[in-house]
Amino acid sequence: MINFLYNFLSIPLVHIIVALVAILAFIGLNGVVLVYMERKVAGFIQRRPGPYEVGPQGLLQPVADALKLLGKQLTSPMGADKILFWSAPIISFAPVVVCFLPIPFGPSQNSTGMELNLGLLLVLAFSGINVFALCMTGWGSNNKYSLLGAARAVSQSVAYEIPLLLAVLSIAFQTGSLNLSEIVSSQQGVIHWNIFMQPLAFIIYFISATAETNRAPFDLPEAESELTAGFHTEYSGMTFGLFFLAEYAYMIVVCSVATALFLGGWDGPFFDGFWWFLFKVYSLMLVLMWFRWTYPRVRFDQLLNICWKWLIPLSVLNLILTAFFYKTGTLKC
């Protein structure tokens, strides 16, 4: 029976469908867990308990929030472009599911949704679609806050995609592959993790990823104090919920890619397995939350200055040095 299931799962189409369903379940569950985690972290850093009343230790609070969002009426503002307005949340959420496909969660073949030679490229390409969705919300909402938020989102994402790509590219230079599973299996043993080889690339990647996912201190597209809620000002109920889910899912994607590229993926000091992968991903998430509750939001010119004046030159330098050392054979893959 188990053998039959195993064989059945190895049919590519079945494998992808099962993987997609599992990913969707993971994204939903993950949203619940991360909302709770974020609010608890915020609470503890500000020395208060965070959600506490719903369920034991407030564990059911995200469920209550989700039910509230599901029950809300969906409205669209007067003068809004209906097609753009209603399709934007779906376009924001749909590509994130694909981004999970090439990520190797564990050592076995079945823990990767789809083995792809260009897995890394797929993740980067599909995560770019989110910007398009934000652009649509800005134009479709017929609201000045949404428009400003979308304009910010676009310029921010375009700027930070460059250092992100360059940092990722230096890892690709080093391992000679864009397949995430191969990159992970090339760094067996803690000493061989790429973070020790490419610390600068990791820092650049992580900063750019924070900006790409619109996380504080780079959360200008949804800056509450300036733009009420930024690009999703006009969205209510589950349309807002979709943006929210997508945002958390993208955070998991960038953290997963960071884990696979720099932290050895599912490789650990002992007992290799998916638990190490999840542990690393959630640790990185914790760091992102820690950032959010530590740093104030940057100004827009500062945001772009960090990118164009520091991150891009540094990542280019990092890339050139990587290429030089590996081409001349000073360092081996």
Binding site: Q46, R47, R48, P49, Y52, T294
Partner: protein
Amino acid sequence: MLKDISKTLIGLWSLIIGLKITGKEFFKPWLTIHYPRQEVKNLNTYRGHIELTGQEADPWVPKCVMCGRCAEICPSGCIHIEFHIAGEEDSSQTEKILIGVGVEIPFSGKKFVPTAKIERELDIFNLNYNLCSLCGLCVQNCPVDSIKFSKDVYLAGRSRQDFEYDLLKRLKKQG
């Protein structure tokens, strides 16, 4: 160029210090309390509505000497006092003396100069907390410290009448 780089490095170091501070705060105990299950303890400085203090010998009887200064000075006119002269056994028969805003006080100023000590008994000491602005003038001006701020933090009511207090009754309950 070098200056810029050193400035950036110093800035980066300050970011790490920031993380250190919030990281430390993360592990410290909470400062807030769960209200319905716990209550704050340091209410010494809390200024709630006023209440009467009892005599040391007899905590049911207020220290009040019925001078009426509190009612007189109250800018909102929320204190209402009535008393009668002691000795006249049936207090319902005697004329109650009312002190308050807009009421002529018969014993203050030149109109009434007591020649001997007059024993008075307090009949009514009412507070209309709806009007009170918590200025504290009554507490400051009481010559015998008969009025103090209560520590009633968790006040809640459904109607205006809930905030009209009979302070004499309250003192008797507390005693």
